[in-house]
């Protein structure tokens, strides 16, 4: 039996919060039989209890010590989400070392930069693919000593001295545990707040990635304060289910999947692969579901597209339910979340259509869903609210451990990121920049004093780089990234993301990039959503071959043009006069997107400069 949410809150208040490392150690002792991790292989879920989880962490720590890892050394993990990721993360910290996370999509040039910059000693690589990347550049990495791989598939023919399998590695740790266990416990007991726990490299829409130093003190403070937030408070079931699929090297996934999950004594489920997230979501029906806008947009557009194919009666039922849902949403937004009429309307809609729809999306048990890491279109947010999913937009960034604001059951303001969490100070600087200050503010950028000084001032305020304002109700509205603000040649200040989000609300458009800095008018580069547009083309009997071919069809141009006109009508600022379709799918490996699928403005504008210039001729 595990604890209820109230008991968890009371305990956290007493202890003042525990880092995930100490929390897992504690849970391994108190609730050894509770399921901590679950991973899917060939359709079957395999379970790891909190005791096994903790034991594996100690084996790993013991092996690291055996391989000569000292306090403060950097150890990297380069893998998709899987139980080994968490075991490595906590095992590394238990050995006193610092975890460095790499995105699975990082190409070898970035792997070289990240491992070199962080002076990584040991690398945990997922499989042959990641091992190949590291082996290709390891000659330039003098500090790298060993590469531990999780997946044996295809590895038998390698005989590099660097390599050792994860199972062997753990076995070594287990054998040496007796001699190392005292050292491990000594290390854990003597962790200072100022000691580094992890380096989180920001994906960097400009310039090379910067390594944010997150300390054990940051983690402890955030863990202690998290329990008062809506994230923890709304999850009322014991042993809630989490699905881990967002990249773990990003602070958002670490916060939700590790910090919040261990606070709630949850089971963290790992999907089979990134391609199976949707079906695994249906299996698990998580209680808590964090997602980035891309995911929500995708669910939204696939639902609508599939609905268009449904039979007349089913569409009738769905549209009617959606109407009820929309009325309920308005009431919830204007009155209160627990408005009785809203509840009744949602119940009817639930019975008619939404119960099965939510089940198919995997959202049937959601106690709270979060959208974060990027702005989400209001249409999308309202759609999920109409379904009856309690979805809240939240805000945070690596540099403050993603602990800043979120909407909650009391006040939801669409378009805002909500009110500050408890103990989080916020102020708006004179130039409109948002500043935050609390115990989770990071220590600085690794080996980059100058940048650190730019973002943390003497009073301890963190300069977020985002521009925004605070509403009457106390919610924070984010206008844009400070450096993205466009000033047209007419001298008008325009926030591109506002218009872009309006345009991106269309199910046919994946990404939009508004340009117009020092130009006469605004124009836009548009990347179409291949899945929905190709579906649309098939229905309209428009023949096409590739993505590029599709973007060159006049019908598709017309389709996008209609969407832009719609967005123009909705926006209050300057209108987009011209647009061009980007002739290729944007990709991380081509450097057009960051690892978190954010567009790199400068790169794209430069790469498609001919397209841009053609619009201003």
């Amino acid at each position: 039996m595990t604890l209820s949410m109230k008991e968890i809150q009371a305990e956290a208040k007493e202890t003042g919060g525990k880092t995930p490392l100490l929390r897992v150690k504690e849970l391994g002792e108190r609730f050894p039989e509770s399921i901590a991790l679950r991973n899917k292989e060939f359709g079957i879920w395999y379970e790891t209890t909190y005791l096994e989880f903790w034991n594996k962490c100690t084996y790993l720590a013991s092996a690291l010590i055996d391989f000569g890892v000292n306090k403060g050394d950097k150890v990297a993990v380069h893998s998709e989400n899987r139980p080994e990721w968490f075991v490595s993360d906590l095992g590394i910290q238990a050995a006193g070392a610092v975890t460095v996370g790499l995105y699975p999509t990082n190409p070898k040039s970035e792997v070289e930069y990240l491992l070199g910059h962080s002076e990584t000693v040991i690398l945990f690589a997922e499989d042959q693919e990641q091992v190949d990347k590291a082996l290709a550049v390891c000659e330039n990495l003098p500090s790298l000593k060993k590469i531990v791989y999780f997946d044996n598939k295809g590895m038998y023919k390698y005989n590099s001295e660097y390599l050792i399998s994860y199972d062997e590695f753990l076995e070594i740790g287990k054998e040496k545990l007796e001699s190392n266990i005292d050292k491990i416990f000594y290390t854990i007991d003597n962790i200072e707040d100022d000691d580094l726990a992890m380096l989180v490299y920001t994906s960097g829409t400009t310039g090379p990635p910067k390594g944010s130093m997150i300390t054990h003190g940051n983690l402890r403070w955030v863990s202690g304060n998290l329990v008062t937030t809506v994230f923890v408070e709304s999850v009322k079931t014991k042993n809630p289910q989490f699905l881990s699929y967002l990249p773990l090297c990003h602070i958002f996934a670490r916060l939700t999947d590790l910090l919040i999950a261990t606070q709630l004594i949850a089971t963290i489920n790992f999907s089979e692969s990134t391609d199976t997230v949707q079906s695994d979501l249906v299996d698990i029906q998580p209680d808590f579901f964090p997602a980035v806008p891309r995911i929500w947009e995708r669910m939204y557009s696939t639902s609508l597209v599939k609905m268009r194919d449904a039979s007349f009666f089913k569409r009738l039922m769905f549209n009617f339910s959606l109407k009820l849902g929309n009325i309920a949403t308005e009431r919830r937004l204007n009155k209160s979340f627990n408005d009785l009429i809203a509840r009744i309307l949602l119940l009817i809609a639930h019975i008619l259509s939404f119960r099965t729809l939510k089940k198919k999306l995997g959202l049937s048990k959601i106690a709270i869903a979060i959208s974060g890491a990027a702005p989400i279109a209001p249409e999308v947010l309202k759609f999920f609210m109409a379904l009856g999913v309690p979805i809240f937009e939240a805000y945070g960034m690596t540099e403050n451990c993603a602990y800043v604001t979120s909407n909650d059951f009391e006040i939801i303001e669409i378009g805002s990121v909500g009110r500050p969490h408890e103990n989080c100070e916020i102020k708006i600087a004179d130039d409109g920049e948002i500043l935050t200050r609390h115990g989770g503010t990071f220590k600085g950028y690794y080996k980059d004093e100058k940048s650190t000084k730019d973002v943390i001032d003497e009073e301890g305020w963190l300069h977020t780089g985002d521009v925004g304002k605070i509403t009457e109700k106390g919610s924070l509205i984010i206008t844009d990234r400070k450096k993205d603000i466009i000033v047209t040649s007419g001298g008008k200040n325009v926030s591109p993301s506002e218009i872009e989000n309006k345009i991106k609300a269309s199910p046919f458009i994946k990404d939009a990039l508004v340009v117009g800095d020092r130009r006469k008018f605004l124009s836009c580069l548009v990347a179409i959503e291949f899945e929905t547009v190709s579906n649309w083309a098939l229905r309209k009997k428009i023949p096409f071959t590739t993505y590029r071919d599709l973007t060159e069809k006049p019908e598709v141009r017309e389709l996008v043009s209609k969407e832009i006109i719609r967005a123009n009508e909705e926006t209050s600022s300057l209108q987009v006069r011209k647009f061009e379709l980007i002739p290729k799918e944007l990709d991380h490996e081509d450097g057009e997107l960051t690892a978190t699928q954010k567009i790199k403005r400068n790169v794209i504008i430069e790469q498609f400069s001919e397209l841009v210039e053609s619009m201003y001729k």
Partner: protein, 367 residues
Amino acid sequence: MKDRLDFYNSYKEEHRIFNNRVQRFWAVFGVLISIYTLIILDDVWLFLLTLAMMTTIGAWGLNIVSGFAGQISLAHGAFIGIGTYTAFVLGGNIGSSVLSYGLDMAIWLPLSGIVPMLFGILISPVTSKLKGLNLGLFSIGIVYFVLHIFQNFRTVTGGSGLGRKSPDFVFLGFNFENGITIGNLVLNENNLIALFSLVILILSGFGVKNIARTKTGRAFFSIRDRDIAAEAIGVDLLRYKGIAYAISSFYAGICGALLFTFTGGVEPNQFNFVYSVTFIAIVIIGGAGTVLGPLFGSFFFILMPSVIQEIIHFFGLFEQSSLLNLAQIERLVFGIFIIVFLIFEPRGLWGIWFRLRNYFKAWPFSY
């Protein structure tokens, strides 16, 4: 994780017959409704439902060998006959002119399955070696061979044109004729036979489902889909074809024993070639290769004539007409149904059920 319906910790869990609460609920609900129906119905419909349940068992038998394992069998009627006579000989009342032992149903019912099964195993070395048309021809040969014996082995069958009477339903010393009274509830012989067949039906149904979901079933399917490929992946063709015939004949025997004990007697010519073809029709209308198909097919086959009759009576059609009599119209309509099914719903009644189920399963989408 009990409230997560699609969540599985092991393959065993995933392959359970009812792998979640919703399915278990509907199964129990269905059984309760069936029991209630069999208690309250009047004798005419009760008679038909009992016939349908018993026929289903035979249809399942054919489905195993033809629908699952893909082996053409036109000799199903012969196996039903062997089962029937086993039951009649072992259970028949002592003192009649034909060979009878007067045993209890608890003995003759299992044996009436086992004897045809042994016969199936006996001929399986031959049937396993044959494929397609040759197998079909061979099975027709079996029908005529067995029929000839039935017609002439008078001490057992009573001979052509005469036949013999059936044994009584006496199970573990209890004679169904006596009926049971529980409080206000009076169950007569027909109710008891109907409930008894429901039990046997459910047991056989579990048997079929278990074959379909386990290694044996997968071996059958692979033989059906491509025998050479099946052999290449390690399926022992001789063995599994033999098993298919054995199980199929067992079901046939049980079906025959129940069916003709219920109708009161049997004449050897009953088990002619047409009788075997009837079962093929049932399986095809219902949906070959599925568990529920033969069930649908049997109920359709047994109940449809009566439903057609009711409709004709209701509208007062053809009553004065001398062109066609009722039985002919009945057969005509039935024939039209078969043609319509083969053209428009080759997956049979099960196909209709499947589409209906998917309509609600996919809700609110269409796929």
